[in-house]
Every structure is written in structure tokens, then in C-alpha cells.
């Protein structure tokens, strides 16, 4: 019963996130000081130089459609929601006309997902390993040094780490590429190597900024769990340190980590956007950036709607890991 409540509650939050997010996206352009369509057209006109009247009209129609400016406010709202959730259609990209926005997004999404996913996993494994050991022996020199390192790393903003890494390893000591160019035939080793090579620095930037937090939180968890009665009892059963850490402390430390990860995924997404822009990495962040620079409103609305949906979905999936680990929710 508790499991059903948990899942139902979580899905309700998911629906709420999407509703609030899309409502914000719908109303924000309507309260903007400038008419977005005119602003757009002016920007496109400046960039493309010459356009004849029929082209301008076609664009105006497309833009009005994107912003859903036809009909009453309620109708517009309904049409907007339908486009996002039912048709998955944000129209053609204006800067890469006539490629559909969805196609650009579906090309970019795997890059962002892959980057965030692999960086999170690396940071998580490293952070847990170091945090467990530092929490197990908190008064050892290594434990203190690790916590000190974590405290210094964690508060540094993503873009600063990304900048420093790109300066150090692509410029001062140029062993990694400054911008991302993926080469190689599909499904070949060259391609894989190229991807790993180009993703290394951006992933490192995310790893460095997130793993400090993992160390801090896992260490605190470990120290608290060490004092728990069941750990003391297990120690008196003669269990080795490795088994105490692996079977008793780590699984119990994982529970709060899931909640934390779910709360932080939005912030991490923000970080990956900046990292992508700095490294010219072909993910969603770069696409959003390009959309802003080129005034491509279809693309902008599409990418931002999808960011919200993607982050909300990822958060929910992570939350669903909770009952997998905690039997108290599974068998309430």
C-alpha cells in the first residue's frame, strides 16, 4: 500500500512540475515588454540581410503559430499544451530552415544525456568511495585532506572549473581539443574514441564540481551510520571492515543520496548547459545558446520545453529507485 501511495504521489508531482513549467513557458513571452514576433523578425532580417515580403509573411505566420498567438488566451494555452505533450511539434527551426526543431533536439539530447549521465556516475562512484573511507576514519590525515579538498572544490561554479580546465588543457598544455569536433564513421572505434576524447574535459568539469559534494555528504552519512546500533552489532559479530562498509553502511547511505540527486538534477542540468557552451559541445545547452544568438524562437521554445520535461522525467526516474533500495516502502 505504501508503495502504491509513493508511486502515485510521485506521479502527481511529475504532472504538477510539467503543468507549472509549461504554464510559466506559456505566459512569460506574453508578459515580455517587446512583441516577440516583431523582435524576432527584426533580428532575422538583420542576420539574413534581404528577405522578400512573402518570406516575411510566412515567417510571421510561423512565429505566431509558435507563440500560439491565434485565438483566445485559453485556446492558445490548450494549443500550446497539445503541441508540447501530444504532437511533440515545435515547427521548423528558423535559423536552420526547414529542419524541424524536434529533429535538432533529438540529435542534441543524447549528447547532453550521455555527458551528464557518465559524469554523474563517475563523480558518484569516486565520491562514494572517498567519502566512505573518509567517514570511516574521519580523524586520519587522508580523511581530513579529502574533506578539505571537497570543501574547496564543491562551491566553485561550473563555468569557472570549465574555463580553468579549457585554459589549462586545451590552451596552456594543449592535449585536449578546444572545441568539439566529432569524426569517424558511424559505429566505428574511431567514432567512439573521438567521442570519449572530446567529451573528456566537459565531463571532468562536471565531475570535479559535483564529486566534492558527494564526498562531503557521504562522509557525513558514514559518520552518522557508524554510530548506529545495527552497525555496532554487526561489528560485534566480527564482520570485517570491508563488509561493514559494503553491506551495512553503503546501502544505508544510498537512501538519502537518491533524494539528494533528485533535488540536484536541475542544478546539474544548469551546469551542463554552461559546460557545453564553453566547450562547444553539441548538446541541448549549445542548441539553446545558438537559438538565443540567432533569434530562433521555435528552437528556443522547443529546447526549453524539452529541458523541463527531461529534467522532470529524470528526477522522477531517480525517485523511483528509492523503493528498490528501501524495503520499508516496498513492503510497508
Amino acid at each position: 500500500m505504501r508503495l502504491v501511495n509513493f508511486i502515485a504521489g510521485r506521479i502527481a508531482v511529475y504532472v504538477m512540475v510539467l503543468a507549472v513549467g509549461m504554464t510559466i513557458l506559456f505566459f512569460v513571452p506574453r508578459f515580455a515588454p517587446t512583441d516577440p514576433v516583431d523582435a524576432m523578425l527584426a533580428k532575422i532580417a538583420v542576420q539574413s540581410g534581404y528577405m522578400d515580403a512573402s518570406q516575411v509573411d510566412a515567417l510571421r505566420a510561423s512565429l505566431s503559430d509558435t507563440f500560439g498567438l491565434d485565438g483566445s488566451l485559453l485556446e492558445q494555452y490548450g494549443a500550446f499544451l497539445r503541441r508540447v505533450f501530444v504532437e511533440f511539434d515545435f515547427g521548423p527551426s528558423l535559423s536552420m530552415y526547414p529542419t524541424p526543431v524536434m529533429e535538432l533536439i533529438s540529435n542534441a539530447l543524447p549528447w547532453t544525456f550521455g555527458l551528464l549521465f557518465s559524469a554523474t556516475i563517475i563523480a558518484w562512484v569516486l565520491g562514494n568511495f572517498v567519502g566512505l573511507l573518509a567517514g570511516w576514519k574521519p580523524n586520519s590525515n587522508a580523511g581530513r585532506a579529502m574533506e578539505g579538498l571537497a570543501i574547496c572544490l564543491y562551491p566553485i561554479p561550473y563555468y569557472i572549473v570549465a574555463l580553468i580546465l579549457s585554459v589549462l588543457f586545451s590552451y596552456v598544455w594543449a592535449i585536449f581539443p578546444l572545441t568539439t569536433t566529432i569524426r569517424g564513421a558511424p559505429w566505428s572505434w574511431d567514432l567512439v574514441r573521438s567521442i570519449v576524447w572530446n567529451s573528456f574535459l566537459p565531463a571532468m568539469a562536471i565531475v570535479i564540481t559535483t564529486f566534492g559534494w558527494w564526498i562531503i555528504s557521504v562522509k557525513a552519512q558514514t559518520q552518522a551510520l557508524k554510530e548506529e546500533e545495527f552497525v555496532r552489532y554487526a561489528r560485534l559479530k566480527g564482520l570485517s571492515d570491508a563488509r561493514l562498509l559494503g553491506r551495512y553502511i553503503l546501502p544505508n547511505a544510498l537512501l538519502p543520496q537518491i533524494t539528494f540527486l533528485a533535488l540536484q538534477i536541475g542544478l546539474m542540468f544548469n551546469g551542463s548547459l554552461i559546460t557545453e557552451i564553453i566547450f562547444d559541445y553539441p548538446g541541448l545547452g549549445l542548441l539553446i545558446y545558438k537559438a538565443v544568438l540567432q533569434g530562433d524562437y521555435n528552437l528556443l521554445m522547443g529546447t526549453i520545453s524539452l529541458s523541463i520535461v527531461a529534467v522532470a522525467t529524470a528526477t522522477m526516474i531517480i525517485d523511483f529507485l528509492y523503493p528498490l533500495i528501501d524495503p520499508r516502502i516496498r513492503h510497508g
Binding site: V20, I156, N270, L273, T303, I308
Partner: protein
């Protein structure tokens, strides 16, 4: 005074010291600026450190030191006002939700959970695009408040919920104290510790988000903030020109500020969790 030093974690003092240094740079020094550091070509361009210009000058002929003080001032003002408003709204709505309960609580909790899940930066980028490519500090601040009040709100709600069950609150309740009085006399002092940690955390998030927006050129480029300073330095190829102080100074200050704020907030959180355990 002695007890203050003995009870508090060491990190609180390191954090405080870093914060005092950065605050001195941002809140005191700007009063003594000789010329408007935003004005271009008020100084010779691309100078190294000298007596007249302690940190040298930019490629636009601005004094880096005085520009930095203005940048730190604006970033701090933004961060503190966002944190102040977010905490105010968060504590108020969190207390209301936790204390009133029922349908209002359910609605507010849903709203808080939802707002927390929405990534802020894409929304800010959208706003910047709609405001013609640059977001004013005020607009950025308002948006940051909208997305940051749920963090203190959720925590305060959880504390308020557990407080409702506490003995001393019940005693107050049964002895006929008014509801508002119970809130201010019994619950609020208790929440203050958490709120302080949250406040600092929000300062951190606000400054980081605005400066991230600035670094990609979407914040108000005509205002000095730590982020816009980095933006201009990047734009004028400060790295290739080996003008490291131009880009390095804001980076060092923001890192010092962030480490200071983080140490403060984790120190305060540790303190209030200790206090919570001891009750």
C-alpha cells in the same frame, strides 16, 4: 564570547573571515572609487599592475581593481536581495503550509516540489532572449526569487510539521497562547538556524546563476558583475593576450566568496542540527 568560539565549528570562522574580506572589497571600497570604472578609456589600456592601477587595466581602458569592487558590490547586492526575499517568502509559506496543514499544505507542497524540479537557467535564458538578448539585474533577481523560495520553504515546512508534535508547542497550545504568538515565540527561533544556512545557500545559487548567465553574455553587459567582468575579459581575448589578472581577479574573488559562503552555511547547518539533537 568564549562560549561562542568554543561551541561553533572552526569552519564558521574561516568562512566568516573570507566573507569579511570579500564584503570589504564589495561594500566598502566602491565608495572610494576615483572615476567611474565602467567608463571606457579613462585609463591607458592593457597596463600591468602599477601604483596608479593596482591590478592593471583592461583592454577597454578600465581600472581592473575598481571595476572589481563594483562587480563584487553588484553581485553581492543581487545575491543578498534574492536570498532575503526568497527566505522571507519561503519561511512564511513554509510555516503556513506546515502549521495550517490540510488542502493548503498539499497545494503548497506540490508547488514547491514542482518549482524545485524546474531548471532555472533555461528559463532565465528564455527571459534574456525575450528582453532583447540581455537580462537586467532586477529581472534576473525576480526570476531567481520565484525559483528559489521553495528550498527554504520545504525545509521550514518539515521543521514546522515536526514542531507541531513537540511537547513544548503543545504546552503552549493548551495553555491558551495565540497561534501567531506560538509561531513567533516558539517555532520561529527554532527555524532561524536552518533559515540562516538556507539564506547563505541562496546567496550562493543566485550569484552563481547570474554570473553563469553573464559569462555566456546574456546578463546585463552594461552593469558590472563578477560574471560580466569575466564575459568582457573572454570577449577581448584576455587569455590569448596573456592578460591573466583581468580574468583571474574576478575568478579568485568569486571562488573565495563561494568557499566562504559555503563554509558559513555548512557550519550553521551543523550547528542547528546539533541544537536540534540536543532538544
Amino acid at each position: 564570547m568564549r562560549a561562542l568560539f568554543q561551541d561553533n565549528p572552526f569552519r564558521l570562522y574561516i568562512g566568516l573571515a573570507l566573507l569579511l574580506i570579500v564584503s570589504a572589497i564589495g561594500l566598502v571600497l566602491p565608495w572610494f572609487t576615483p572615476v567611474d570604472p565602467l567608463e571606457w578609456y579613462t585609463a591607458p589600456r592593457n597596463q600591468g599592475p602599477s601604483g596608479a592601477h593596482p591590478l592593471g587595466t583592461t583592454s577597454l581602458g578600465q581600472d581592473i581593481f575598481w571595476l572589481l569592487t563594483w562587480a563584487v558590490r553588484n553581485s553581492l547586492i543581487l545575491g543578498v536581495s534574492v536570498a532575503f526575499l526568497s527566505t522571507l517568502i519561503g519561511v512564511f509559506l513554509g510555516l503556513t503550509a506546515g502549521y495550517v496543514g490540510g488542502g493548503l499544505d498539499r497545494f503548497l507542497s506540490f508547488l514547491m516540489d514542482a518549482l524545485i524540479c524546474i531548471p532555472t537557467l533555461p528559463i532565465l535564458i528564455l527571459l534574456a532572449a525575450l528582453f532583447g538578448g540581455q537580462l537586467s539585474l532586477v529581472a534576473a533577481g525576480v526570476a531567481l526569487v520565484v525559483f528559489n523560495w521553495p528550498f527554504p520553504g520545504r525545509q521550514v515546512r518539515a521543521v514546522a510539521l515536526s514542531m507541531r508534535e513537540r511537547e513544548f508547542v503543545n504546552v503552549a497550545w493548551f495553555s491558551g497562547e495565540r497561534r501567531s504568538r506560538i509561531l513567533t515565540r516558539h517555532i520561529f527561533p527554532y527555524i532561524a538556524g536552518w533559515s540562516a544556512a538556507n539564506f547563505i545557500n541562496t546567496v550562493l545559487v543566485a550569484i552563481a546563476t547570474e554570473s553563469a548567465l553573464a559569462v555566456i553574455g546574456l546578463s546585463s553587459a552594461s552593469q558590472a558583475t563578477v560574471g560580466t567582468m569575466i564575459y568582457w575579459a573572454l570577449k577581448y581575448q584576455a587569455l590569448l593576450g596573456e592578460r591573466y589578472i583581468w580574468i583571474g581577479a574576478p575568478v579568485v574573488v568569486i571562488v573565495a566568496l563561494f568557499i566562504g559562503l559555503f563554509l558559513m552555511s555548512s557550519g550553521l547547518a551543523m550547528r542547528s542540527s546539533e541544537r536540534r539533537m540536543s532538544i
